[in-house]
Amino acid sequence: MFAIFKREMRAHVKSLFFWAVGIFFLIFISFIKFESIATTPEASDAMVDMMPQIIQVMFGMAMPLYTPQGYFIMILLWIGLAVFLHAALLGASLISKEQQDKTADFLLVRPLRREKIVLAKALAGIAQVVMLNAVIWLAVQVSLLPALTGSSTVSAVIETGALALGSTIDLEQGIYLALAGLLLTQVIYLVLGMLGATASRSPRHTAAYAAIFVLLGYLLYSVVAASGEVDFLGVLTPFWYFFSQRVLTDGLSAAYLGLSAVIVIVGIYAACALYRRRDVV
């Protein structure tokens, strides 16, 4: 089992490296210049204000961008979209690449139960999304947090942002919690990607299905966040579970923590069960 884990880690090391460099770079350049945004509230904010609520939410611009909270929510939405796609595609490819590359029969004749194969792949996937999340965490450490303690202008806008959100928790703590929420959502999408790939018959299309699934989740999140009245629909989209705006306001929601645990455990179990009965050609 450990051999499979190691193999999967090695097989994805290059792509993980590129994702990590890209994401680190993005977060770094986004936050390092934050002070210049805080000191000159953007003129095109007026444009954003005119937009209907749903579009503001889709672009992550429902909060004023010159506050650290609003800016963090926007950047984290984009980063989230990217890393969730990464997680779902990774999950799908962990399962389906064996058939696509015609290595499945080689793998399955090893003296190892199929459940263990799926489990080893899931662990390798989780290890990789954790690493990507660690990179995000590191990038936030070296770019956003120093910018927040910089000047008096910045501390004034922190107050403005906290008031606009009505937050009950400290900003720095909120940021850590939001990143933890991001990690949980990554794991959920990873597991769902694997589950989709074990359930789907054609290994060629699993990547496209996984991407479409994430995009649908994003659209549904926009509807839920924009309307403000159909929060219960949020259950259907992992984007919503630990949406950074909610995390910065109230912290991680216990109900969604429970739901995530259930999805991950049931998802891996179901993936094992489906893979055991799968006709692998």
Partner: protein, 265 residues
Amino acid sequence: MNVLIQEIKQYRKGLLAWIVGLTLGAFMFMPFLPAFADNVSSMKEFLAGMGLSLTEAIGIDFEVFFGPLGYFNYIYSFIILAAGIQALALGLRIIALETRFKTADFLLTKPKSRSSIYLQKVAAGLISLLVTQAIVNLVCLISLKAFAVESFSLQNFLLLVSTLSFMQFFLYALGILVAALAPKLKQTIGVAIGITMLFYVLYVVANLTKEELYNWFTPFKYFEGNYILIHQAYDASFLALGVALTVVFLVAGLVVYRRRDVHSV
């Protein structure tokens, strides 16, 4: 000719899915246009009550941003992001998939020069992209006509939608070069999403922070709708850079593809 036909046949279903997705995406936002126009006119009245015009209040000539084309441009930037992913993935796909499906040696043993294969593949992709652009832009034009309260200039509309073509061709060429340089590439859509999102967020951040240096590294700046709205023209130096890079990528792709080592199965 055979390679071209074969490529188009293979991409038919994917192309259809992309076109449906993109047109739905563009169409979805248009019904909000009247609400946007309402917000703008109440804002104008409010400012007029204080004896100000929109332009004076905001400082730059933003009048143009609040017309139908301003709204359209905002939405369209999103469509371009998605269409960019399509183009980049297609560029990767036409080169990388032969290796993945182990059909590369079958193709290369045919009595055809590699240049001819490369050119036919590139042409097949270009045709697919042109079809995408034509349909998406047509739907945009019709729905914009249907929902816009004020009239807008058709010439400016055409100038705006031409950014989609430049953008797609740029990313397509980049995808081809990347695939030619990375023979072991397996997943196309993930790479395409990663690179395109990187460019896009870089562009958004460059705009927000006003950091001039970032602009040189993102094609979303080379072919920028905002600039066209204000000046009714492209920024010549960025346009030249973008087009030049597109050509360089395509030629470099050909050079690499001609000489690269292809393993038999």
